[in-house]
Symmetry: C2
Subunit: 219 residues, 2 copies
């Protein structure tokens, strides 16, 4: 077996802060690239991790105290030159969480950065972030994916705004509501309303059996 | 680095034989699973392969004498139990070729099998084939992907039939032709016609600048 290959997982954790998508970065503690900004990640632990998904979950748990965000394999970035330690493969994942979930848990060495104002990232992590944003945006047009950027219960207005911020375009309210009814992946949260300066708004959540739903046309 | 991880590439090479999708399989020459059917694949060669795409190209070149099919990363299958030799990651690719291209090049230990009549496959290769078929079918509805199952020049009727065989549904001819005109990714091959028992049919090819084109709605 003529190989000595480094296998890591890296996670692009995205959240929506106001109208902006932000990504979790940390300063690396060790060489190579000590002190520089990177995605949370690390070696796959062959003894401990059942598979790469388990490794990604462990990274999120250890590095961002997160236990169950939306998590999906993104792409594997590999090659002889991306890591100075040798031929490496990073099995990259992306995760979505609501800002509420993330904020209190995020320990000091981690920071959220707006995706369009990133610092210089080490390895090929800038490319990995780009790939995750492209996946999020293209998949959001045809699926319930943006729901995972919201808390478990949300108003339809909040959901529409989330789609708009992710897709970068305004959506027509009545067409949006009609499609939500057609796609039928939400349910009313009983006795829960958002109160505010305006009249109370009904809260919704994803129907349990519906996890990620793919639509047959754009939202 | 508490790991000793096996890194391989495996390729799901698909082609259309008549109306059926078929996949290239080979009998393994070595243990584990010697003599059993598997996808073409092998270890990443850290010295030789610039990245996993180069490794997949090498596998196709060495094992199926193919140099430039459509080739795309599919998914990385990993874990402690999928390979008896230890924790392993297979960076899986799928490739599309026309049956014409494949037939003369395919050496003896390789055989095409219809995707719905596969023999028992070793490792998790049956799952990898399923994943490739799902990707092909879902992506074909929104892209020019099925073109890569055809020879470089084809008639519009051949293209429609290819979409139909991949998607498993009949398409309306006039709607199909209208969408081809809208999506505008084909060009006429000058002075080339398919002659046969009927009147000659114009041949088309993918416009060079258009490689894989994603549509904004289904074909």
């Amino acid at each position: 077996m003529d190989q000595k290959i480094i296998v890591t997982v890296d996670v692009v954790l995205l959240t929506l802060v106001g109208e902006r998508l932000e990504v979790l970065l940390s300063r690396r503690e060790r060489e190579p690239f000590a002190e520089q900004w990177a995605l949370p990640g690390g070696y796959v632990h062959a003894v401990e991790d059942a598979d790469s998904l388990a490794a990604a979950r462990r990274v999120l748990r250890e590095k961002a105290s997160l236990t169950s965000p939306y998590l999906e394999q993104l792409y594997t970035f590999s090659g002889a030159t991306r890591d100075p330690r040798g031929w490496s493969a990073s099995i990259a994942y992306y995760a979505l969480v609501s800002a509420d979930t993330l904020r209190p848990a995020s320990p000091a060495p981690f920071e959220l950065w707006p995706v369009d104002e990133l610092p210089r990232l080490c390895f090929d992590h800038a490319r990995i972030v780009d790939c995750a944003l492209e996946r999020l945006r293209s998949k959001s047009a045809y699926s319930s994916l943006p729901c995972y950027l919201l808390p478990p219960a949300f108003t339809l207005t909040e959901l529409q705004q989330t789609y708009e911020h992710v897709l970068g375009q305004k959506l027509d309210k009545s067409a949006f509501r009609r499609k939500l009814a057609d796609f039928d992946f939400l349910e009313v949260v009983k006795d829960a309303q958002r109160t505010g300066s305006h009249r109370p708004a009904q809260l919704y959540r994803i129907r349990e059996e519906k996890n990620l739903m793919l639509f047959d046309r754009t939202i």
